[in-house]
């Protein structure tokens, strides 16, 4: 197993390199001259434009630009915003905690909703209860997050005034107010994922139901609750953990929409604003950061899988 982990870690470097190269190339495909954006569209003085291009290194061959960019990236320098002139690392450091909190909160809510629901649906002998649970989860998968979020705001913040609007104090300063303020966005993010996880829990409970060890547990005279909890759930959760890992990656992408709906100043909203303002260095940094995190989470999930199920052996 150690060899497998070592191999995966060694492979991480080329993956990150290819991803970086691709992000760099994609950003160069965006039409428009970055120097012109920096200078402002009203300024068309060719000499000034040439000076900005020289400053940015845009007059050098693309390969030179890439190597320079990569060199700075390795040292943790993501450049400066074309709009505000601030270092992008500082901007990301402000925005990332919001996005991470939203994703973690959303994931926790999703798991809390999904595991009991899925377990119940997978073990119930009532056709009606199973059908009801399945309808609920399919509905959860069919809801557009931006719509659910908007309705939540209308109902719970505007009409009932239970939740504050646009109030996201830092977690370490006001933990209770923070968790309350983030509840609706996190729930919005959680719903489709809770549905997906609940379906997986159900399917995997159904699959382990016929296993010999479950029959043995029943034959030993264990109560149904203990059979489910000790024997079925433990085994059924292995594929579920993989799905949760995959979802953790997708939550980062999904948070783009939720951040926009709830006006949370996270990384996703930062990326969208960068698109509107044509601040391509910022957009590039956002795409790169989110993709890096995504790749790392995927690796973590693969490794976790090996730890969870000792039956799995990797060559």
């Amino acid at each position: 197993m150690q060899r497998y982990i070592a191999k995966r870690l060694v492979l991480l470097a080329p993956v990150l390199f290819v991803v970086s190269a691709l992000v760099f190339a994609l950003m160069r495909l965006i039409p428009g001259d970055p120097a012109q954006v920096l200078l402002g569209f009203e300024n068309t003085d060719p000499e000034q434009l040439a000076a900005v291009r020289r400053d940015l290194g845009l007059d050098r061959p693309i390969t030179v630009q890439f190597v320079r960019w990569l060199g700075r990236l390795v040292r943790g320098d993501l450049g400066t915003s074309a709009r505000t002139g601030r270092p992008i690392v500082a901007l990301l450091a402000e925005a990332l905690p919001f996005t991470l909190e939203l994703a973690v909160y959303g994931l926790v809510l999703a798991v809390l909703i999904a595991i009991p629901m899925g377990t119940l649906a997978g073990t119930t002998t009532s056709r009606l209860a199973d059908a009801g649970m399945q309808t609920l989860t399919l509905l959860g998968l069919s809801l557009p997050a931006f719509w659910v979020g908007s309705l939540f705001i209308l109902l719970f913040s505007v009409h009932l005034r239970w939740f504050p609007v646009l109030s996201f104090p830092a977690l370490w300063r006001a933990p209770a107010a923070n968790l309350w303020g983030f509840f609706l966005p996190a729930l919005t993010l959680a719903i489709p994922n809770a549905a997906a996880i609940a379906r997986m829990v159900r399917a995997s409970m159904i699959a382990v139901r016929r296993e010999e060890y479950v029959k043995v547990a029943r034959a030993k005279g264990l109560t149904e609750f203990l059979v489910v909890r000790r024997h079925m759930l433990k085994n059924a959760l292995i594929p579920v953990v993989t799905l949760i890992g995959i979802i953790a990656g997708y939550l980062l992408g999904g948070s783009i929409v939720v951040e926009q709906v709830f006006a949370i100043p996270g990384v996703g909203r930062m990326g969208l604003q960068a698109i509107v303002q044509r601040d391509y260095p910022v957009l590039q940094a956002v795409v790169l950061l989110v993709t890096f995190i995504f790749v790392l989470i995927n690796l973590l999930v693969d490794l976790l899988y090996v730890f969870l199920d000792p039956r799995i052996r990797y060559a």
Binding site: P144, W147, S150, G253, I256, G271, V287, T291, F294
Partner: protein
């Protein structure tokens, strides 16, 4: 020759269409889809108003006789706009999945059938696409190509390609080793004929199920991009864009936000119901607990 050697006829397994029509889940799903697709197709004839026609005197009309589902900020009829919005949603979803299915499916089958370095190159390329979060990749593609309906279609299509490549490759690897493929090779059949006559039929079922599920997610995807202002551009109706516009006036009238969202949900639910039923019908392990009692 006497029939002494004839085996008793095996009980015939009902075909997929029969099974689909027997499952209540897929029947409900198909019913929903018939309505949604019907509304989209008939939009120019059944819509009470042109989708972009404004009625300044009837801003935020409540649902009623003149405007079945009410009207928006510009006094445009919400029902008519939803009908035309369905056209955009279904067209983008259908074409993007068709694109992903043909490009991804073909790549997957080729990778699986040809094997060796073809397999490595194709599947590593797919892995790279998989390394990006889907929404982020789609947004990047839209920024490069410029926002619009056609771009949305391409962006969603490209993002889905690796999914179909993986789905196409798996069964191909299995079929390739079967005796009948060996026999076809021994008979001197050309590769493309083997792929068409032996591999494709085995790949088509899982690909079809995946396509149904992806049609559901593609509708959500298209609406999310439109909501973010990166999809279909105003004044053309798109369901995501309608929700985004309606949100600005939630306190004046909830209907311009509520109904388009509901319309999206309905279409997505239809595809999800059918996709789910197909998956269950094709995988006997998915039979729920209550069937064994």
């Amino acid at each position: 020759m006497p029939d002494a050697l004839a085996l008793p006829a095996a009980p015939r397994r009902p075909g997929l269409p029969t099974l689909v029509l027997r499952s209540p889940k897929s029947l409900v799903g198909l019913g929903v889809l018939v309505v949604v697709i019907g509304l989209a197709l008939l939009a120019p004839w059944i819509a009470p108003y042109p989708a972009t026609e404004m009625h300044a005197a009837d801003r935020f009309a409540a649902p009623g006789r003149s405007y079945m589902l009410g009207s928006d900020f510009f006094g445009r009829d919400l029902f008519s706009r939803i009908l035309f919005g369905y056209r955009t949603s279904l067209l983008v979803a259908g074409l993007s999945v068709a694109f992903a299915l043909s490009v991804g499916g073909t790549l997957g089958v080729l990778a699986g059938y040809l094997g060796g370095s073809w397999d490595t190159v194709i599947m590593r390329l797919m892995d790279i696409l998989f390394a990006f979060p889907v929404l982020l990749l789609a947004i990047t593609i839209v920024v490069i190509l410029g926002p619009g309906t056609v771009t949305t279609l391409l962006a969603i299509g490209i993002v889905y390609v690796p999914i179909f490549a993986r789905i196409g490759r798996g069964p191909t690897l299995v079929v390739k080793e079967q005796a009948y493929v060996e026999a076809a090779k021994a008979l001197g059949q050309r590769s493309w004929r083997i792929v068409l006559t032996h591999v494709m039929p085995n790949v088509s079922t899982p690909v079809l199920v995946q396509a149904t599920i992806n049609l559901a997610t593609a509708i959500l995807f298209e609406s999310a991009l439109s909501f973010l202002g990166l999809g279909t551009q105003p004044p053309y109706p798109s369901l995501g864009l309608m929700v985004s516009e309606g949100r600005n006036y939630l306190e004046q009238s909830p209907w311009p936000t509520v109904f388009p969202g509901m319309a999206i949900m309905l279409a997505v639910l239809g595809f999800n119901l059918v996709g789910d039923a197909l998956q269950e019908l094709l995988d006997p392990r998915m039979r729920p607990a209550w069937t064994s009692t």
